[in-house]
Structures are given as structure tokens and as C-alpha cells.
């Protein structure tokens, strides 16, 4: 028998229903795995008692035949989701000791579907980063190593703890949030599936905000079917979020028909960048061939403003963040560093409470919104965001989905690129445009680099066509037959 932690979510679900094992056994195996992977630092807070208590309830429901969609399935929760009574940190010193008296809508939806929480996963501080090295609680190590090289690698970020936990078989799945690639890039680095749904598909209520016009929650799982199962439980209209869209959530698992014949797959020429990593380029070509073999039709498309997506993002996101993070002021929760005056208290608290990257982004965001610079930076970026969204609108007139690489490289070593923020920002070059346009996108593990690290392919769909994206991703996954393990 395979060990319980090797099961996919769908297998575990079916096994529980067939009484092959109990939810308690499944939870215990994962609680032990969380303990075992401690050296990876994937969790900020483990909640084994909570997981086991929920498993007992799951067993009772299973016994009564009242199981719900995700009954008894153990998950890691990115520590950006507020969880009632459980320390929630956003991986920041400034939220020291913060135990929310409320539960985020997305996690509440998951618990309502019967899932259970193993713990709160590490992340880049306030989700600002692509390496998980900005966490106040220390970096996360990827479970992967390069061939013949034992140096620790980053899991990607910002949902690095989530991705590492799922890849290391310590959780069947994990929640992530994606602002510019924070689900998809770590999924690619860790050889798992990560999906960012359409902006408005999952409620943002109760998720610590980074950049409100971009933030979306989504699943990190070990395969596409699991992503479909988990997204179905996470998604849905929430009247508490004014940007949550009131549109039905389809049965995503049903969409995985394997039939993509006749679908047109856009290949954006602007993503073929100068100096592109040949391994990545080859994988992309391979992906195109796989989809063509499955009966889809690759079409050349143009997304002319692609090169401006990253600079646009690095204005819009810090601007919103500078305002979203103003509430961390030492008054109502979290860290307070005393000062003689109110302003001194603010300045001391925020200097001590925010790490370097957060301080940097808050300052850039403050600057681009300030008097005299607003039009040149922030408003210009909003205009280009309109152009980027229009590029996608035009493209989707001639194609049904878009295929690109997920990241420009495989995972890098811990500590690399830390001295050059812009080099770090380039990690998100392929994921940011879909974020700016609010479109659903998924990363599927599709191959290995020369030194044995996972590489992902990225599919972008029309707004609210998660089902279509999952369907194509499922075909891609089968073709790629990615079996490598850390």
C-alpha cells in the first residue's frame, strides 16, 4: 500500500469513502509528515490538535454517510488567511501575537466542505516576494535539490510554505494567494499544480491584503483534478467582498473530460524574450506539441504590451500595498514599539515590524501616489493596465486559452538574487500579465531542467473560464506525465 501521504486528494477522498482508512489515520499520517518536514520551515504554526479533532468529526460524518466534498482532507493554509483563534502572521513581525476573532471566507468554505487544517504555512512577508526569503519566520527550503548539489533551494514565493508542504507530501493541498504569480511560480518551482482563479472568483474577505485589485486565493495541489476539487470548495460569491462576483461555480471536476479537440491555444509571440532560457523555450515548444497532439490548434497571438506588465505591476501593487499596510500601526493589534509621541510610536513600530522588502515596497508605493508623481506613475500604470487587459480581450477573440512558461527559470538557491530586487521581480514576468487582467491561470508541472528541477507550463483562460483552463491543464498534465518527486 502506498503511504497515506502519497495519495492525491481525489484518491484520499475515494479511499475514505471506501473505508480503506479513516480520516483519523489520514490526519495522523499528515500530522507526522508536518513534523518530519520541520527542517524545511514550511509552517509557521502547526495545528495538529485541530486537525485531529476535525478528523474525528469527519469520521463521524463518514460513518453516517454525510460526508461533504472535501471530508477529512488535510490542508496547509497560507498564513495570510485569517483563521479564528489561530495565530495569523502574514509572516510579518508586525502581526506578532495576532489571533483573529474571525475566519476568512475561503477557509470557512473549506471547513464547511469538510477539509481540515494542519497548520499555517510560511510565506514571503505580506506575500511580497518570489522566494519565501522575506519571511520574518525565516526562509522555506524547497524539498527539491539539484542533481549532485545539496544546496538548499527556494520553493518560490510568496506561497512558498504552501508549495513546499504539498510537494513534500505533508499536505494533500494548500491554499495560496496570487497577486503577481505567488501561487503559480512556487507551484512551478516545487513541481506541483497551482491555480489562480479569475479575480472575483474567491472571496478576499479575511485574507490579509497585499494589493487589493490583484490578490486572489487559489489552490496548490499535486494534480489538476485536486485543483478542481479544491477550487470548487474555495470559490463562490461572498456579499462581504464588493469585488466578489455573483456567478455560479461549476463542478470543475466534471470539466476534466480529456477532450480539447478543436480548441485554439494562443502562443503569444511577445513571451519569447531575448536571452530566454533554452530549457524553458524547449518545454514551451513541447507543451505546444502535446496540445496539438491532443487535437487542439496552436495559434500565434500578440499581446503587445507584455513587456510593460512587470513595471506596471511594480507601480500598482506597491501603491495599493502602501495604503493596505497603513493599518499596521501598533494601535489595535500586533507589535507596538513605544515612542514619546504618536508619530514616533508609528515610526518605531513600522520600522521594527516590517522587513526590508516590505519597507521598500511601502516606500515606493507611497512615492508613486504622492503629490506631483501620481499622474506620471500611478495613473500611467492604470492606463497601461487597461491596454494589457485589452490585449487579452483581443487575443481571446482568436483563441480559447493561452500557453506560456510559468517562470523564466527553475528554482534558485536560497539567498540568491537577494541583493537585486529587480532580478527577483523578473521571476514573475510570465505570470504578472494575467494578474493585471484578472484572468484565471494555472501552472502545471511539465518537465525537469537539466539539473533535475521541475519546470512548469502556464495556461491563461478567459475570465471565469476556470473550467476551460482546468480541462486543458488536465490534458497537458497527462501528456507531460510528470512523475518526478523531490
Amino acid at each position: 500500500m502506498t503511504t497515506l501521504t502519497d495519495l492525491s486528494m481525489a484518491e484520499a477522498r475515494d479511499g475514505l469513502r471506501a473505508r480503506k482508512y479513516s480520516a483519523k489515520e489520514l490526519a495522523e499520517a499528515h500530522v507526522a509528515a508536518v513534523e518530519r518536514i520541520k527542517p524545511l520551515n514550511a509552517f509557521i504554526t502547526a495545528t495538529p490538535e485541530r486537525a485531529l479533532a476535525a478528523a474525528a468529526e469527519a469520521d463521524r460524518r463518514l460513518a453516517r454517510g454525510e460526508e461533504r466534498a472535501m471530508e477529512g482532507l488535510p490542508l496547509a493554509i497560507k498564513d495570510l488567511f485569517c483563521t479564528e483563534g489561530v495565530l495569523t502572521t502574514a509572516a510579518s513581525h508586525i502581526l506578532d501575537g495576532f489571533k483573529p476573532p474571525y475566519e476568512s471566507t475561503v477557509t470557512a468554505n473549506l471547513w464547511r466542505a469538510g477539509a481540515l487544517m494542519l497548520g499555517k504555512a510560511n510565506l514571503d512577508e505580506f506575500a511580497m516576494g518570489s522566494s519565501n526569503m522575506t519571511s520574518h519566520y525565516g526562509p522555506v527550503e524547497s524539498p527539491w535539490r539539484r542533481k549532485g548539489d545539496n544546496r538548499a533551494l527556494v520553493p518560490g514565493g510568496s506561497s512558498g510554505g504552501s508549495a513546499a508542504a504539498v510537494a513534500a507530501r505533508a499536505a494533500l493541498g494548500a491554499t495560496g494567494t496570487d497577486t503577481g504569480g505567488s501561487i503559480r511560480q512556487p507551484a512551478a518551482f516545487c513541481g506541483i499544480v497551482g491555480m489562480k482563479p479569475t479575480y472575483g472568483r474567491c472571496s478576499r474577505w479575511g485574507i490579509v491584503a497585499f494589493a487589493s485589485s490583484l490578490d486572489q486565493a487559489g489552490p496548490l495541489t499535486r494534480n489538476v483534478r485536486d485543483a478542481a476539487i479544491m477550487l470548487g470548495a474555495m470559490a463562490g460569491h461572498d456579499p462581504k467582498d464588493s469585488t466578489s462576483v455573483d456567478t455560479p461555480v461549476p463542478d470543475y471536476e466534471m470539466a476534466l473530460t480529456g477532450d480539447i479537440r478543436g480548441l485554439r491555444i494562443g502562443i503569444p509571440r511577445e513571451y519569447r524574450m531575448d536571452g530566454m532560457n533554452p530549457e524553458i523555450e524547449r518545454l514551451w515548444e513541447q507543451g505546444k506539441a502535446w496540445l496539438r497532439d491532443a487535437g487542439a490548434e496552436p495559434v500565434d497571438i500578440s499581446l503587445p504590451h507584455t513587456k510593460y506588465a512587470l513595471p506596471t505591476y511594480y507601480i500598482v501593487a506597491p501603491a495599493e500595498a502602501s495604503s493596505n499596510l497603513a493599518r499596521y500601526d501598533g494601535v489595535r493589534y500586533g507589535l507596538r514599539v513605544p515612542g514619546r509621541t504618536l508619530d514616533e510610536m508609528y515610526e518605531n513600530t513600522r520600522a521594527a515590524g516590517f522587513g526590508k522588502e516590505v519597507r521598500r515596497r511601502v516606500m515606493i508605493g507611497t512615492y508613486v501616489l504622492s503629490a506631483g508623481y501620481y499622474d506620471a506613475y500611478y495613473n500611467k500604470a492604470r492606463q497601461i493596465r487597461t491596454l494589457i487587459a485589452r490585449d487579452f480581450d483581443r487575443a481571446f477573440k482568436v483563441c480559447d486559452a493561452i500557453l506560456t512558461p510559468t517562470a523564466p527559470s527553475a528554482a534558485f538557491a536560497l539567498g540568491e538574487k537577494m541583493d537585486d530586487p529587480i532580478a527577483m521581480y523578473l521571476n514573475d514576468v510570465f505570470t504578472v500579465p494575467a494578474s493585471l487582467a484578472g484572468l484565471p491561470a494555472i501552472s502545471v508541472p511539465a518537465g525537469l531542467s537539466g539539473d533535475g528541477l521541475p519546470l512548469g507550463l502556464h495556461l491563461i483562460g478567459r475570465a471565469f473560464d476556470e473550467a476551460g483552463v482546468l480541462k486543458i491543464a488536465h490534458v497537458l498534465e497527462r501528456a507531460a506525465d510528470f512523475r518526478a518527486r523531490p
Binding site: 502602501s322 497603513a326 503629490a371
Partner: protein, 488 residues
Amino acid sequence: MTTHAPHLIRGESGDWEVVIGLEVHAQVTSQAKLFSGAATAFGAEPNTQVSLVDAAMPGMLPVINGHCIEQAIKTGLGLKAQINRRSVFDRKNYFYADLPAGYQISQYLQPIVGKGEIVLDLPDGRGRTIAITRLHLEMDAGKSLHDQHPSQTYIDLNRAGVALMEIVSEPDLRTAEEAGAYVRKLRSILRYLGTCDGNMEEGSLRCDCNVSVRHPGEKLGTRTETKNVNSVRFVMAAIEHEARRQIGVLESGGTIQQETRLFDPATGTTRPMRSKEHAHDYRYFPDPDLLPLELSEAEIERIRASLPELPDDKKKRFIEGYKLSAQDAGVLVAEQAAANFFEAVAAGRDAKLAANWVINELFGRLNAAGKPIDASPVAAERLGALVDLIQDGTISGRIAKDVFETMFETGRDPAAIVEEKGLRQVSDTGALDAAIAEVLAGNADKVAEFKSGKDKLFGFFVGQVMKKTGGKANPGLVNDMLRKKLSS
């Protein structure tokens, strides 16, 4: 627009003109806050009417109260203003202890209501139109209590998130009196509309006064903004003081700093606000947690159709329909309840007489007793019944005043009071004949004087007859009969 003579202030360097613009923060009448479901009621225990949204807990999101949007539209329509079909909520970013999120959700470049106007009723009965620049919706901040502890400020967030309408005037006002009239008129309109209760003591209406001075014809001077003045009297006092202070500074060779000031009611003076000493940079940008607000023509028209008759229209109707003076009509329409009361009294009666009784007797008595019109012990039907008794000659106007006094104290029916106290007017010529004969007989000397040309004594005889009848004699009849007797 202004043929109105400016009221100038005389200074050493000549006459000064005061230029005033007002920003009024009016609390929207609503059960719940603008972006959360917490209550807005006044006077609750600290931090009990606070949702997690109002406290800006991590991950909390605003959802707008639809009723507050309708209230803003209604107010805009009442100010004859442009209602913008698309408006945007922005974040105004600044750090302050009673602003939990570090930003206030407000409207900046695209407010819900654009240009409108308010007509002031000046004491001389004329109207003066003041332009409204805009009205926007925003959330209130919490309250800082500075006097509870020697080294700490306490924060109560009950008010945080309460819906406000910020109503901004053009700098069209020229005197403290005009500013007072503006606030009174605005408050009257808001109350008619039911969009703000106008209660200044509870902070439902607060006024920021922008004041500058200049020699007539010169360009605008540097202005100061005196924040959060919370009564009409204080608005006038703050402007008066601030104008004279600025003139003093300028005439002694100084310059005016553009700054935020506070009014101290205890001293009647303004002083600079220390906590706002840093130049602000509010970094407004559209709130990404909210979407642009789109209004349909149909919605605006539906609200327009629900508007009540407003004071200006009502005043016009009172002047034309009831033939009241502009002065009286203005007094009656200032409050909707008073206008309604008057109309109930005037229905089917002499409207001028009714107005006279409502304004001079009832208002006078209510003012003295410190009671609002809706707490009047005299109901409108009863005051109407009193007017009827005067009109049909049952009692004289003088007796009516006594009856009214009893009504005010007991709330009773005037007819019953008249009956009980036997105040019915005496119009029986036989009885009056007897009384007149008695008076003339008892004052033979005066009769002789009268007949020799001392006409003024006529009043004396009337008075004596009235006295003899206990004031109940019909004065017109007494006059006629006396005149006949004395000339015979």
C-alpha cells in the same frame, strides 16, 4: 449674482472684505454605517458600535450601504444639484489614531453630486444664492479623547465609519451672518429631506470654515480652515474672530499662513492645530476594494419623485396661497413640523390670523419653555379651535390670550375653558346698555369734559365698560354703542 452690498470691515488700511466658504459634514441619517453593519446611534458605550471592518482588522473589506447612496442623491436633488451618473470612492491616506485603516474612504475627483445651490433668506426678506461646489460621501473617523489620562489619548471607534455627506460651498459668503444663514438654511433642507437630523450638539452637522480677507477688488487672500465648528453661533463667532485676526496680522505687516485652526468656544478665538502641523499629502487613489458607483437615470428619477416640498417652494406657496408676508412665511417654513402645524391651524380659517397665533403666541411660548414644535402642549386642532372662537366672536382677542395661556398649561380644549371660566363675549345689547349707562352715570364730569372736546376720553369710557363686564364685552359693539350714547 451679487448686487448685494458687501458688509465690509473697517480697518486702518481701509475697508476689508471677508471671503468665506464652508465645508459642512452632515451625518447621513441611517441605521448602519457606510461600509459596515454596525449601528450609528448616538451615545453608546465606547467601542461597542464597531465592526471588525470599522476597526480595520486585517483582511476586512467595505461593502456600501445602499440607503446612504440614496440619501446623498436625495440631498443633491434638494440642492438642485447635478447628480453624477458615475462616481468613484477614493482612499484619502493619512495616519491618525482615530483613523484605523490609515485611510478614509471618501470621494475625490468624481463625487456623487456636482454643482448645486442654496438660497439664503436674508433678514430684509431678500434671497441670496450661494453656489454649492459638490457633495460627496465619506466615512467619519473615530473619536480621540485627550483629557482622560495625563500621557495617553484614548480612542473610541463608535463613530468610525458613520456615513457623512461633505457639502462644499463656493467662497460666495461675505459675512458671519451670511454664513450663519447658510448653515441654518442647509440644515433646514437636510431636515426636510430626512437625510440628516441636523443635530449639531451631537455632531451630526459640523462645519469647516474657510476664511480669507482682502481689500475689495483685490485677488483672494490666503485662507485658513477652522475645523469642526459645531453650532451656528460658533460658526459666526469663529468667522468673526478669524476675519479680525487676519486683518490684524496683515495690518501689522504680517502674512497669513495657510493652516488648519481650531475654534475654542470658551474664549471665542481660533488657534492653530498642532497635530496637523505637517504638510499633508493624502495620496488619493481609487479604493480597489470598491467598484465605481453607477447610477441609472431611473433610480435618480425615482428618488426625485419622492422628494417632499422643500422650504423655498413652501415659502412661495405660503406667500401666494395664504397671502403671508415673506418674513412670516420664512419663519413658518424653516422647520417642516412648524409649517405643517401652521397649515393645520390655517385650514379653512383666516390664514393671517392663524399665522399670527402660531408665530407670535405659540412660538413665543414654546421658545420660552424651550420646547420644540412637536412637543407643543397645544395641538394644532385646538389652536385652530381657538382661532375659530375669535373669528366667530365668541371671545375677544384679548380673552383669547388668557385662554391660550390655560391651553398651553393644560392642553385643554379652548371651548371648554371658555365655558368653564365664563369667558364668552357679551354681545347682548341690553346688558351692555346697562353697563354703559352705569359708567356714564358714575363719570358725569368726564362726560362733560368729553363733550367739551376732550376726544381722548373715549378710550377711558371703553375701558371702564370692559372692566365692568370682566373683559367679556364685545369691544366693537361697546365702541358703537358708546359713540351713539355720547353723541346724543
